[in-house]
Amino acid sequence: MAILTVTNLDLFYGAFHALKAITMMIEEKKITAIIGPSGCGKSTLLRMFNRMNDTIENIRITGEVCLDGKNIYNMKTEREIDRLRRKVGMVFQRPNPFPLSIFENVAFGLRIHKKAKGQVLKEIVEASLKAVLLWDDLKHKLKTSSLRLTLEQQQRLCIARVLAVKPDVILLDEPCSSLDPIATRRIEELMIELKKQYTILLVTHNMQQAARISDDTGFMLLGKLIEFGQTSCIFTNPREKETVDYITGRYG
């Protein structure tokens, strides 16, 4: 079943047409990868799903993005948008843990939404850290600053921070691009594990990564979604010439 549907979406940064007539459906509890050369609009598209583009000035959007059948761009109040962002979590390209303790990083979302405190809060933090496989390493130093962790640990922490507020969808924008190959493989395994419970949208530069872990793949070029479908089809039997060129490495 499709949890997210995008219909005829256009986005302009001022006069620059960054997303062109995008239509796609994202299946629940699957990993959907978005690939394409640098500057084609992958991040811009991803940031549509939690209305992160709202923070940018001079932007114009037409078309629909529906979560569970409701157009998220019809939301008017800040509260609705904040609630949307709780349902659709985001992990960024560079790990960006808050300059707080490990515990407070994971507890942040629960605290601001007043969802839990005391023992319940502790339990959710523990469960979230376990889900990203950090608990065993860090359980004795939950009070230390998150900035002391390795990059991989920081990125896991950022994922745990999102999991703690129990989202339905997790958006990941090149989550492995600042990690080494071994850490990358481990985060990939984590994503496969997470898809049992969450819908995952993954932007990546890395075609092997998309091929390895995603169920569906979309290929973007110059703001257009050129091709979208099952990952196995896209990589073995693409329909469009541009897709063939890209996956055979002709675009760099």
């Binding site: 992160m52 904040d82 962002r85 985001m90 960024f92 960006n96 300059p99 601001i112 921070r161 507020v165």
Partner: protein, 292 residues
């Protein structure tokens, strides 16, 4: 040939810059030595303990008394009040400028704050004397508006530019990625501000506050004109007080050079120097922490 010339030029410029840096250090050191020298001759004539612990500053009575306790308390009392007013106001203004204000208002506010920093303290003191002092007297129905409270209001005003502009820098230097992370978790603007931005910029804000307080405690003209200059330990914020700086400025002209009274003023200066040195040192420690 050209190469040699460039080499000599580089060499000279390097030396000159080095010399300037060293000179700055030497001057501070010389000032300290001078204060120490003059101050120490005072302690030959008067006991250190009576100086620091004495409540009465009667340099003209017989025998003269040089107790600076009431002056130190006067200075601290005014400073603490000024801090209570200027810190929340300054930090909130900085937050407003850095995070909330639309660009036009931001620009206006920033230039106003800069302008405020450029007003000489005599002028601020003078304006305070003819406007603020009568106002405070009427508003609180007290015999005289020349009080520590009036002085603190004026000083808070003078500390604001320092606190606002340095705090604003600290707040603006919080990486966008932190804010982005908070917003993406559904934090409101306010939650992002007080849970992420404020804690992240706290060391810089502390530095700003300490520098502002350094300015307040060293301020002379405005306090001399407004605080009433009564050397006694105040019992309420509406009592007049006398600060260390005002004492030095007021009495330096009427002492005989080389007398005990003359040296006592240098001893006050020494105390003041040590206090501001400590404040600046703390400020510097905080600022260094943010830069990391």
């Amino acid at each position: 040939m050209k190469k040699i010339f460039t080499f000599i030029k580089d060499f000279l410029i390097e030396r000159i810059i080095f010399l300037c840096g060293i000179l700055a250090i030497i001057f501070v050191f010389l000032i300290f030595l001078f204060l120490l020298n003059q101050g120490i001759s005072f302690f030959g004539a008067y006991s250190l303990w009576d100086f620091l612990g004495g409540k009465f500053w009667y340099p003209a009575s017989d025998p003269p008394q040089f107790g600076i306790l009431s002056l130190v308390i006067g200075s601290l009392f005014v400073t603490i009040q000024a801090a209570l007013i200027s810190i929340p106001l300054g930090v909130m203004t900085a937050l407003f400028i850095a995070e909330i204000a639309p660009p036009v208002i931001k620009d206006i506010l920033k230039s106003v704050v800069e302008l405020l920093a450029a007003i000489p303290s005599v002028v601020i003191g003078f304006i305070g004397m003819i406007t603020l002092v009568p106002l405070v007297r009427k508003l609180f129905n007290i015999p005289t508006g020349l009080s520590s409270f009036s002085g603190a209001l004026m000083l808070a005003f003078m500390a604001m530019p320092t606190i606002v502009s340095i705090s604003e820098d600290a707040i603006r230097s919080v990486p966008w990625s932190y804010k982005e992370g908070a917003i993406a978790l559904g934090a409101t603007r306010w939650q992002t501000m007080y849970r992420i931005i404020l804690p992240a910029s706290l060391p810089g804000i502390m530095g700003a506050v300490m520098l502002g307080m350094g300015r307040v405690i060293g301020e002379t003209m405005a306090v001399m004109m407004i605080t009433g200059n009564a050397a006694h330990i105040p019992s309420s914020v509406f009592d007049p007080v006398r600060t260390m700086t005002a004492t030095i400025a007021a009495e330096m002209g009427e002492t005989v050079k080389g007398s005990t009274h003359y040296h006592s003023l240098f001893a006050i200066g020494l105390v003041l120097f040590i206090i501001t040195f400590i404040i600046n040192f703390i400020a510097d420690t905080f600022m260094r922490k943010t830069r990391r």
